[in-house]
């Protein structure tokens, strides 16, 4: 018996499937928008290499898929109404990896940043200002130049902010903030002094941290800023992270929100 021949309506089926998926997505968006949306989401993008291993691909393809997944996730975040997204792209500790991997990652970052300079790139379409946070003088000069160009070009965008943490560790950030607040030493250092010298100055604290690949640790990311943040560990690898995982993370945040808000109002009165 011929089950699926030329006459089988594949096109109709696939259109219907896409229509159904889009409908489900709209419903999920509608559910999410009914509750409190995190203003600032921090993401630790873990699992690129394990994804490449799982798919029997070369290591660097994992990072490329990760970059693609990042663009999609940013689009979804800004669609929800998230105003700040901070991502952990490269840690200072990651420089201890093999030189080939570090070089490949630097080159990939340079290419992706270069792509952001184009007019029709996502950041210009959505009005996103890009900031690179970290000890940027550890980066190769060509990447640093591209980064500075991107930061300058997107400085006037004001609908949302994307913080990319490169050559970053939170302990280094706090140490340099302490040294930077050094001129106030004789007047006594306060919480505000240190906060004023952190790389994330001007951004509110993250409301939600998402870490992929199932690990539950901070890996030296935003230690100061995550004091009251809701931590969500997602079991999938970063290249597999999609809209439904983001939906789940935000939903969990919304469920914990009443308790988070109740506990956090006390802290905002604390100043040294």
């Amino acid at each position: 018996m011929e089950i699926a021949g030329k006459g089988f309506p594949w096109r109709w089926l696939s259109s219907f499937w896409l229509w159904l998926l889009s409908g489900i997505r709209k419903i999920m968006l509608w559910i999410i928008m009914g509750g409190p949306i995190p203003i600032h989401i921090a993401i630790i993008m873990d699992g690129n290499r394990r994804f490449a291993q799982k798919q029997h691909m070369a290591k660097k393809s994992g990072h490329e898929f990760g970059a693609e997944s990042l663009m999609q996730s940013l689009k979804h975040c800004y669609e929800f109404g998230v105003k700040y997204v901070t991502i952990y792209a490269f840690s200072i500790e990651n420089f201890k990896r093999s030189p080939e991997e570090v070089e490949a990652l630097m080159e990939l970052m340079r290419q992706k940043l270069q792509a952001l300079l184009e007019k029709e790139s996502l950041v210009n379409q959505l009005g996103i200002r890009v900031r690179l946070l970290g000890k940027l003088d550890l980066l190769p000069p060509i990447l640093r130049q591209t980064a500075e160009k991107v930061m300058a070009r997107t400085m006037t965008n004001n609908r949302a902010i994307l913080n990319v943490c490169v050559a970053y560790t939170s302990t280094e950030e706090i140490t340099q903030a302490v040294a930077g607040a050094g001129r106030r030493f004789e007047m006594g250092v306060s919480v505000d002094d240190i906060e004023g010298h952190l790389y994330t100055v001007g951004c509110p604290e993250p409301d939600l941290l998402i870490r992929t690949s199932g690990e539950t640790r901070l890996s030296n990311f935003l230690l100061w800023q995550l004091g009251f943040c809701y931590l969500h560990a997602c079991g999938v690898l970063w290249p597999e992270f999609s809209f439904r995982h983001l939906f789940r993370a935000v939903l969990d945040y919304q469920r914990a929100y009443p308790y988070l808000k109740h506990r956090h109002t006390g802290f905002q009165q604390e100043k040294i």
Binding site: T171, I174, T175, E186, L218, W224, A256, I272
Partner: protein, 359 residues
């Protein structure tokens, strides 16, 4: 020829098993025993082993059994360096200085002594909700929480954890109702006096960290007395965070460094991360102020301003039970979860491209 030591095996391996090492002619005879501080495996004498193959053997064991690579690193290094020649056995201690019978009682099933975290931190959350669930006042919840803490301290001693840090009272908690705060302060005072004999007997050292200047004079005096009387104890370092805030800790470290800069002993450009870490309040336990494992009870998934700097590479574990319900089973499960994890500290664990292992 052979090397003797003990590798605890999970994931389907039994004692006395012979394992073929992939990519080499060597086979490994793995013996499981309770002599937990030694690595025991006999390598078949017919194998012509090179250094790389020895590394492959252990990588294979580690990969299959999921043992934390850092702990076995010293063993692999000594085996590779010793460069197997001729017949004979060699015993390589995993952690030198420890004895086989260091722990008095066996561990719960699935826990391995040399995978135990050195430093565990606990956020004891959920006393009030536990009491509310039972229709009791919150003071009963705190009293039940004290019993759970005593149990956790006992288990930590029994299982060989060296440092236990507990979050007893945050700077935020001062905003709670005055009656509750007063009750908690009285409870802390009572517990310090009541448990002093136990601390002395069980050889537990007590340190209290936090902004102690805001506490009552009598509580401050009790704290100083107990710290003084237990300062030479060494079995367990119990750190109680009272009126503590992670950000305040960083700021006080900053102020201490500021004083050194003002005195001319230090330049502000010379401030490094390691120097900074020495000024944090958790430096009372030397270089081990950063917990390996943080447990938070009551299902809340956040840090609540606890030990922020120190948690850079800490494994986080969130338990759904309220703190008064946290007992041996929950603690063992948290430790099992920790022992299953692969800690990389930002680096790569191994490089398989040329068959050698780079730890």
């Amino acid at each position: 020829m052979g090397l003797r030591g003990t590798v605890p095996l999970a994931n389907g391996f039994n004692c006395n098993e012979q394992v073929q090492v992939p990519g080499s002619f060597a086979s490994v005879h793995l013996c499981y025993g309770y002599s937990v501080n030694r690595l025991r495996c006999q390598i078949h004498p017919m194998a012509a082993l090179k250094k790389e193959t020895v590394w492959q053997v252990f990588h294979h064991c580690l990969h299959i059994s999921g043992i934390e690579r850092r702990r076995i690193l010293s063993v692999c290094a000594s085996i590779a360096e010793s460069s197997i020649k001729g017949l004979g056995t060699e015993e390589i201690p995993v952690e030198s200085g420890k004895e086989d019978n260091a722990y008095e009682d066996p561990l719960p099933y699935g826990l391995y002594p040399y995978l135990m975290p050195k430093h565990v931190a606990i956020i004891m959350d959920g006393n009030s909700r536990w009491a509310e669930q039972r229709g009791l006042p919150s003071t009963e919840g705190h009293r039940a929480g004290r019993i759970a803490l005593t149990e956790a301290v006992k288990l930590s001693c029994k299982w060989g954890i060296e440092i236990l840090t507990v979050f007893a009272f945050s700077t935020d908690n001062w905003l709670r109702p005055k009656t509750e705060v007063r009750y908690l302060m009285d409870l802390f005072q009572f517990v310090l006096e009541d448990e002093l004999e136990t601390l002395k007997r069980e050889n537990i050292r007590l340190c209290v960290i936090g902004d102690l200047a805001v506490l009552t004079k009598s509580l401050q005096t009790s704290i100083v007395e107990v710290e003084e009387m237990t300062k030479n104890n060494s079995r367990l370092n119990l750190i109680i965070a009272l009126s503590y805030s992670g950000r305040n800790d960083i700021v006080q470290a900053c102020r201490r460094l500021a004083r050194q800069v003002e005195d001319g002993n230090l330049k502000s450009t010379d401030i490094t991360e390691s120097l900074f870490e020495k000024e944090l309040e958790t430096s009372c336990v030397g270089d081990f102020g950063s917990p390996d494992l943080l447990i938070r009870t009551s299902g809340e998934q956040r840090l609540s301003n606890f030990l922020l700097w120190q948690l850079a590479y800490t494994e986080l574990y969130f338990d759904d039970s309220f703190w008064p319900e946290f007992g041996e089973a929950q603690y063992a499960e948290a430790l099992r979860s920790f022992q299953r994890r692969h800690r990389r500290f930002g680096k790569r664990v191994c490089n398989k491209t040329n068959g050698t292992i780079n730890f």
